[in-house]
Amino acid sequence: MQVNEYKPLIVAFCCNWCSYAGADLAGNNRLAYPADVKIIRVPCSCRVNPTFILRAFQRGADGVIICGCHPGDCHYTSGNYYTRRRMAALFSMLDFLGIEKERTRLEWVSAAEGAKFAATMNDFVQTVASLGENKRLEDLRCKK
C-alpha cells in the first residue's frame, strides 16, 4: 500500500429503515468497503436537506451519497420519491455550476441488500478517488 495514497472523504446519508440496515447487514456479512465512508443516520432519505450536502463539501468531503429505500418501499410511503426529485434537481444544478457530477449520488439500498451497499460504496469511493480532491466546492478556511 502506498503511504501517501489519496483518501477521499465520503459522507453517506442513510435512511434508518432500509439503507442503514443494509449497511448493518454488510457488516454482519463482513463485506468490506473503504473506511473513508462515514455514515450519518437519518430517519428517511427525505430528511436530507441540500444544505447538508453542501455543508459536507464545504467541510472537506469529496463525495456525498444519499441512500434510501427503493421507490415504493419507503417506510413513510413517499419520502424517497421527494428525495428523488430534490436530488435530481440539486445534482443537475451542481453540474450546471460545473461541479463534478460524479461527486454526488443517490442510491436505493434495501435492508436486505448488504452486498449492494458494500458494492455501491466501493464503487463510489473509487469514482471519487479517481476525481481527486474536491476543489470546486471547498472552503479553504476549513483546511487550515
Binding site: T51, L54, R55, Y82, A88, F91, L97, G98, K101
Partner: protein, 332 residues
C-alpha cells in the same frame, strides 16, 4: 411605448378610489429622473396626479409588496399588474401569502420594459431626459446637443426580450387587450451553458458569482422569497452568513437561494434586474425551471392558483438523479 397611458391608469385608479372599491393604490411613483420609479402607495386622485408615473421603465414587480401592504391596508388595495406580475401574484396566493379579498387587481398590458443601462450604452451617460415617442425613446443628455432617438425594442430588458407571456393569469379587471402566452427562447442561454464542458461552466459561474457582494437585493426583491425570516439571516439555521467570505459561500448562497424557489419561481427576472453587479442570477432559476419541465413535464409556477409545485410533488415513475445526466451527454 406602452399601449396603456399614465392618464388611463390614473383615471382608473381615481375612479376606484372615489367609488370606494379601493382605499389605496400601489403604483409607480415619480423619481428624480425619467427612468427611476419607486413603488408608492397613493391614497387620492391628487396624489396620483402629482406622483404617479407609467412609462417604459416601470419594470418593478409589485406582487411581493402585497404580502406586507395588503395586510396593513384599511380597505382594498389597488394594484396594477403586468402579465408577468400576475404569475407572481398567483404564486403568492397559492402560498397563502396575502389575502385575496384585500386586493383589487387590475391587469394592464405591457409592451416590454426598457433597461436603463442599455439606454446609457447607446446614448452615453449623463441622461437629462427620456421621453417615449411611438416605438422610440428620445433621450437628451448633458453632453450631446441633439436628442438621441433609440428604438425601444433595442433597449428592452433581458427578461422582456424573452417574455414568456403577455397573458394575465389573474385580475379583477383587465385594461386593454388580453395577450397570449408566448413561445419564448428563454431557455436558450441555459442550453448554451449546458452545452459547455463542466470546466467551462465552472469558470463561467466562478467569474459571475465572484462579483457577488451579498447585498441580498436578489433575495429581497424576489416575489418568491417572502420568508418571515430567511435562513441566511437566521443565526439558528446553521447556514446564516452575511458576506461571502470565499467562493464557497458565494455558491452556497446562490444555490440555496435558487433551490428554495425552485418550482415556485415564476421566472419574473427581478433577481437579475436588481443585481448591482449584473450577475445573471435568473439563469440559475431558469435552469431549475428547464430541468423541472424536462424531468416532470411542463410546469409554470403561478399559472394556476393552488397548483402543487413540482418539488413538493412526485410520481412513482420519476427519473432517477443518475438518469438526469444520461439523457444525452451534455459534455459531448
Amino acid at each position: 411605448m406602452q399601449k396603456i397611458t399614465r392618464e388611463q391608469l390614473i383615471a382608473k385608479a381615481s375612479e376606484l378610489l372615489s367609488n370606494g372599491t379601493v382605499s389605496q393604490v400601489l403604483g409607480w411613483g415619480k423619481g428624480e429622473f425619467d427612468y427611476d420609479v419607486t413603488p408608492t402607495l397613493f391614497s387620492s386622485a391628487e396624489e396620483l396626479e402629482n406622483g404617479f408615473v407609467f412609462n417604459d421603465f416601470c419594470g418593478a414587480n409589485f406582487s411581493k409588496y402585497l404580502v406586507s401592504k395588503a395586510a396593513k391596508a384599511d380597505g382594498k388595495l389597488l394594484v396594477f399588474l403586468k402579465p408577468c406580475d400576475t404569475y407572481s401574484f398567483n404564486q403568492l396566493l397559492t402560498e397563502h401569502r396575502f389575502d385575496r379579498e384585500k386586493v383589487y387587481a387590475v391587469g394592464i398590458p405591457c409592451e416590454g420594459m426598457a433597461d436603463i443601462s442599455k439606454v446609457k450604452a447607446i446614448s452615453g451617460d449623463g441622461i437629462a431626459s427620456i421621453n417615449a415617442d411611438g416605438d422610440n425613446l428620445v433621450v437628451t443628455t448633458l453632453y450631446e446637443d441633439a436628442p438621441i432617438t433609440i428604438a425601444t425594442k433595442d433597449v428592452l430588458a433581458e427578461r422582456c426580450i424573452n417574455c414568456k407571456s403577455k397573458k394575465h393569469v389573474a385580475y379583477d379587471e383587465l385594461m386593454g387587450e388580453e395577450g397570449e402566452v408566448l413561445a419564448s427562447n428563454r431557455f436558450d442561454e441555459v442550453a448554451r451553458l449546458e452545452a459547455m464542458t463542466a470546466d467551462e461552466r465552472f469558470a463561467f459561474w466562478q467569474n459571475e458569482l465572484s462579483r457577488c457582494i451579498r447585498c441580498n437585493a436578489c433575495r429581497d426583491a424576489c416575489p418568491a422569497c417572502t420568508c418571515e425570516k430567511c435562513v441566511f439571516d437566521n443565526p439558528n439555521s446553521g447556514v446564516e452568513n452575511k458576506s461571502p467570505a470565499n467562493e464557497f459561500e458565494e455558491k452556497l448562497f446562490h444555490i440555496i437561494r435558487a433551490y428554495h424557489v425552485a418550482g415556485r419561481c415564476t421566472d419574473c427576472g427581478e433577481c437579475s434586474r436588481v443585481c448591482p453587479q449584473n450577475i445573471p442570477l435568473h439563469l440559475l432559476n431558469r435552469k431549475f425551471i428547464k430541468d423541472i419541465n424536462e424531468f416532470y413535464g411542463e410546469y409554470q409556477a403561478g399559472e394556476e392558483v393552488d397548483s402543487r409545485a413540482p418539488l413538493v410533488n412526485y410520481t412513482t415513475e420519476d427519473l432517477e438523479p443518475g438518469e438526469v445526466f444520461d439523457r444525452g451527454d451534455n459534455n459531448a
